[in-house]
């Protein structure tokens, strides 16, 4: 039953992926003009003579003068083969540019997610079980502060404290000596050290809201009849709590994994600028501004793929933890 469900969901995500890619491509095409227009404007600005014939030649070479469907077809058939086209601005294959940045983004996102959960779950459970206790009030107050504080402000404050009081290097994800170095154990440790501050910054508001969600979910479950049944069996409070209400309170959580992924990647643009992190966010923004359509398209497509995978993961997890889902 579960396997059939997983296969069905996997199968469905394929057409869904193509539909999403079409929308993504259409969105990139939507602004008037193309990269050549932007390019010409940049040239004109710097006083260069714009050679219309050369532009047209370039346009033809990149297929920019062809109808939308043809362009899309060229692009997507390349993507399927792993060829994302060439970045106009960098004059490099897109695939060379994006992978490392995407990987770092995903690492950052995953670390943030883990951090958020590790803190939000226990506190949320504590707050629900000890409702209106001093601890609950304390964490609630802390949570609201975390929720209302803008990310970039927190980032600047933490950077100030780290640099002035601890003298640590906080910008980027690697120290200078590892910047261009090949991967090694030392580089991984270095990455871990640099991840701490961005993870805290990015995780604060998510943690705060998750605590509130967990608390509310669990409060809904704590007084359900099945909890009384379990208590009447003679289960200890702790085992009972973990096996029954917490498990059911996790449902809404698991269904949010789907959006957590792309949200963490695209939501970290500001922080990536502030801390100058070599992640996907800033590059995506720049590509969109320059109408560097293949680069931007690749990023957007990957973000979409991440959402689809996230949804898939959360749907499958949901089916694993809640048998009622599988049979619908």
């Amino acid at each position: 039953m579960l396997l059939a469900y997983v296969v069905r969901r996997l199968f469905w995500s394929i057409p869904f992926f193509f539909a999403v890619s079409l929308v993504a491509f259409a969105l990139i095409e939507a602004p008037p003009g193309d990269y050549m227009t932007t390019f010409a404007a940049t040239l004109a600005q710097s006083g260069d003579i714009v050679d219309q014939e050369r532009l047209d030649a370039l346009r033809e070479r990149y297929g920019l003068d062809q109808p939308f469907v043809v362009q899309y077809w060229k692009w997507i058939s390349g993507v399927v083969r792993g060829d994302f086209g060439i970045s106009f601005e960098w004059q490099q294959p897109v695939s060379d540019l994006i992978w490392e940045r995407m990987a770092l983004s995903v690492i950052l996102a995953a670390a943030t997610l883990l951090f958020t959960w590790a803190i939000a779950f226990p506190i949320g459970i504590y707050s629900a079980v000890r409702k209106y206790s001093i601890g609950d009030y304390f964490f609630s107050a802390l949570g609201f502060i975390g929720l209302s504080l803008p990310n970039f402000l927190l980032g600047l404050v933490l950077m100030y404290i780290a640099v002035v009081h601890f003298g640590s290097d906080v910008s980027g994800l690697f120290s200078a000596e590892y910047q261009q170095a090949p991967w090694s154990w030392g580089k991984v440790v270095d990455l871990g050290q640099h991840l701490l501050i961005p993870v805290v910054i990015l995780g604060t508001s998510a943690t705060a809201s998750l605590i509130r969600i967990m608390r509310a979910n669990l409060l809904d479950e704590l007084y359900k009849p099945y909890v009384t049944t379990a208590r009447a069996k003679g289960l200890s409070e702790w085992r009972l709590l973990v096996k029954y209400p917490v498990r059911l309170a996790l449902n809404p959580f698991v269904s949010t994994i789907g959006w957590a992924f792309p949200q963490l990647v695209s939501g970290s643009v500001i922080i990536s600028y502030v801390l100058s992190l070599p992640t996907a966010g800033p590059l995506l923004l720049q590509a969109l501004l320059a109408q560097d359509m293949f680069l931007a398209g690749a990023f957007i497509l990957l973000l979409c793929a991440l959402s689809i995978i996230g949804m898939l993961v959360s749907d499958i997890l949901l089916a694993v933890i809640d048998p009622r889902i599988r049979y619908r």
Binding site: R8, F11, Y223, K224, P225, Y226, T228, T229, A230, R231, A232, K233, G234, L235, S236, E237, K243, Y244, R247, L248, I321, D322, P323, R324, Y327
Partner: protein
């Protein structure tokens, strides 16, 4: 058809002289409120003897459930035991006096989270609850939950525990227990879930079983099966049973002793025959009176029909069909569909009460909703004849043509709590149909609402207050006031009295009869409760799997049912007379076969 319980005719045993296994003495359980402690259980004492059943009876809010939960100390906060003692004589176990030293525990003195009380819960005293669906975890298999109960108290391996769980399921008569153990509660029917619940409670062969309204949420035939099952298991192992119920019929059926509770106090306590035949306390008399009043046709209705016989048809239903389909298609490929209403034909005459009776899933509620066009019908006709004699086919009317018809057909719902918007005042709720249809405004609306409220026996001052300020019975009156606001011709009452206590049930039925006389109403009364239908309805239609299997004058159907299903249904209704215990053969009608 299959026999469920063929029990020999036996007179219910009188008061037990056996040594008690559980003694509750002067128990007080209080809830801390802003206005000081509220005593939900106030000085209650009783004893339970092995092999005997004590029924704790009372209406909602009497404190009977809190009493039961106090014994195991599982009252939800802020409730807590204040004083009294609960003595469990562990040496007097289910199988009679066991050799060994006397071991008596005062459970009231134990901390509710202590290891000592956890060792008693589920092992010496087990409990089953009212809602078998919500009382089982929806995300764990039945097997998992039973095995857990076994392994909590007996140190056995997983495999052995599982084998025992299968045995238990077999004991509670669940078909194919090896398969059933891997299933989830939502794959079980209501009756099966309650059986699984019982299996779980029996996991460690407890000496005391506390059953908190275990059959209230079930159909009568399932109820009869579950009661018979509990009785059988009780005799097998000699358990003491504390059975909590509000249904005097069930009490008459199973109790050895009866304790009547009201406002947290025990008002009367005695053996079953004495309580039923010589009740002392006024409240007990009232409870029994209310039940007996319902077991016959309303004299007032009969009187009225003699002078005002039902007139011409106002609603004719011909071959009505409603299919619920779910075709998820593509890879899902399960094209299930249910014929919820399967070719039903009915006629309702002016000034007549038509009862529709059936068990859950029989399609009776769907039928009611199709008549109101809440659900569009898939076939057939619903001919409504209005005051001028014009005929409207409700099934075929376009959406905008429905407004005038809906003004004449109104509905009363089952749940007086969720059918009233908690954020509207009673005045707004009752006045809304008038306002929506543009019939009254301002002072005129106010006057009309006041008039409607007084018609249903509510004070005018109720207008400014919100529904939460009223009790269940009063809320149902508000719902009725809303239904009659537009001077309808037909009222469809869907289980309108099911959520009410017996004493209120008669009051609400009387009110409806009263309104019928004053306002010239016809009723379609949908219920699973034959007693209520017998009291209120002139004619009755019995539904089974979407079809009307029998239709006729109420008395004729109730006294001499023709269809096998009706016979089965009537045989399962518990009779509030302990002397009739065991005199009827129960059976379940299984359909076409």
């Amino acid at each position: 058809m299959l026999d469920l319980a063929r029990r020999p005719a036996e007179a219910p045993p009188t008061g037990a002289a056996l040594a008690p296994v559980l003694e509750v003495k002067n128990l007080v359980t209080a809830f801390a409120t802003r206005r000081g402690p509220f005593k939900a259980v106030d000085d209650v004492s009783f004893t339970l003897a092995p092999g005997k059943t004590l029924c704790l009876v009372g209406e909602s809010g009497s404190g009977k459930s809190v009493t039961a939960r106090s014994i195991l100390q599982i009252v939800d906060p802020p409730g807590a035991i204040e004083s009294g003692s609960i003595l469990l004589h562990r040496h007097r176990t289910a199988k009679g006096d066991r050799a060994g030293p006397a071991e008596t525990v005062d459970m009231a003195a134990l901390h509710p989270r202590s290891r000592a009380i956890r060792a008693i819960r589920g092992r010496d005293i087990a409990m089953i609850f009212q809602e078998p669906m919500s009382s089982l975890s929806p995300v764990h298999t039945i097997g998992n939950q039973i095995v857990e109960a076994i392994r909590l108290h007996d140190h056995v391996g997983k495999k052995e525990a599982k084998e025992r769980a299968v045995e238990l399921l077999k004991k509670v008569e669940i078909p194919r227990p090896e398969k059933a153990i891997e299933r989830y509660p939502f794959e079980y029917s209501g009756g099966m879930r309650q059986r699984a619940m019982i299996a779980m409670a029996l996991a460690c062969t407890p000496s005391v079983l506390i059953a908190d309204e275990p059959t209230t949420a079930l159909d009568v035939t399932t109820q009869a099966e579950i009661l018979a099952l509990i009785k059988k298991l009780q005799t097998d192992v000699g358990m003491a049973v504390l059975f909590i119920t509000h249904d005097m019929g069930v009490v008459a059926e199973i109790a050895d002793e009866v304790a009547v509770m009201r406002f947290g106090k025990l008002v009367e306590h005695g053996d079953t025959l004495t309580i039923f035949e010589r009740p002392q306390h006024d409240y007990t008399k009232m409870l029994l009176g209310a039940v007996k009043a319902l077991d016959r046709p309303s004299p007032r209705r009969l009187q009225r029909r003699e002078t005002n016989p039902p007139g011409d048809p106002v609603l004719e239903v011909r071959d009505l069909r409603k299919v619920f389909g779910s075709s998820s298609g593509f890879l899902g490929r399960n094209k299930d569909y249910v014929n919820a209403v399967d070719g039903v034909s009915l006629t309702l005459r002016a000034g007549e009460n038509l009862g529709i009776v059936g068990e859950s899933g029989s399609g009776k509620s769907t039928l009611g909703r199709c008549l109101m066009r809440v659900y569009p019908a898939n076939g057939g006709e619903i001919r409504y004849i209005d005051r001028k004699g014009t005929v409207h086919d409700i099934a075929a009317l376009p959406e905008r043509g429905l407004a005038p018809v809906r003004r004449d057909l109104r509905m009363i719902f089952q749940d007086p709590f969720s059918s009233l918007n908690p954020r509207m005042t009673v005045g707004q709720i009752v006045g809304e149909p008038l306002l929506v249809n543009g019939l009254a405004q301002g002072a005129r609306l106010r006057d009309r609402v006041a008039e409607l409220l007084s018609l249903v026996g509510m004070p005018e001052s109720a207008m400014e207050r919100y529904p939460h300020a009223f009790s269940g019975g009063q809320r149902q009156r508000i719902g009725i006031a809303r239904a009659i606001a537009l001077e309808p011709k037909i009222i469809i009452a869907d289980e309108a009295t099911s959520a009410l206590d017996v004493s209120l049930r008669t009051q609400v039925l009387e009110l409806l009869l009263d309104l019928q006389e004053r306002l010239d109403l016809s009723f379609i009364f949908i219920s699973h409760d034959i007693a209520v239908i017998r009291y209120f309805c002139d004619r009755i239609a019995v539904m089974f799997r979407g079809k009307v299997v029998e239709e006729g004058a109420t008395e004729a159907v109730c006294t001499a049912p023709q269809h096998a299903y009706t016979q089965a249904l009537l045989s399962a209704v518990p009779h509030p007379d302990p002397r009739m215990r065991g005199t009827r053969i129960r059976h379940r009608y299984t359909g076409a076969g």
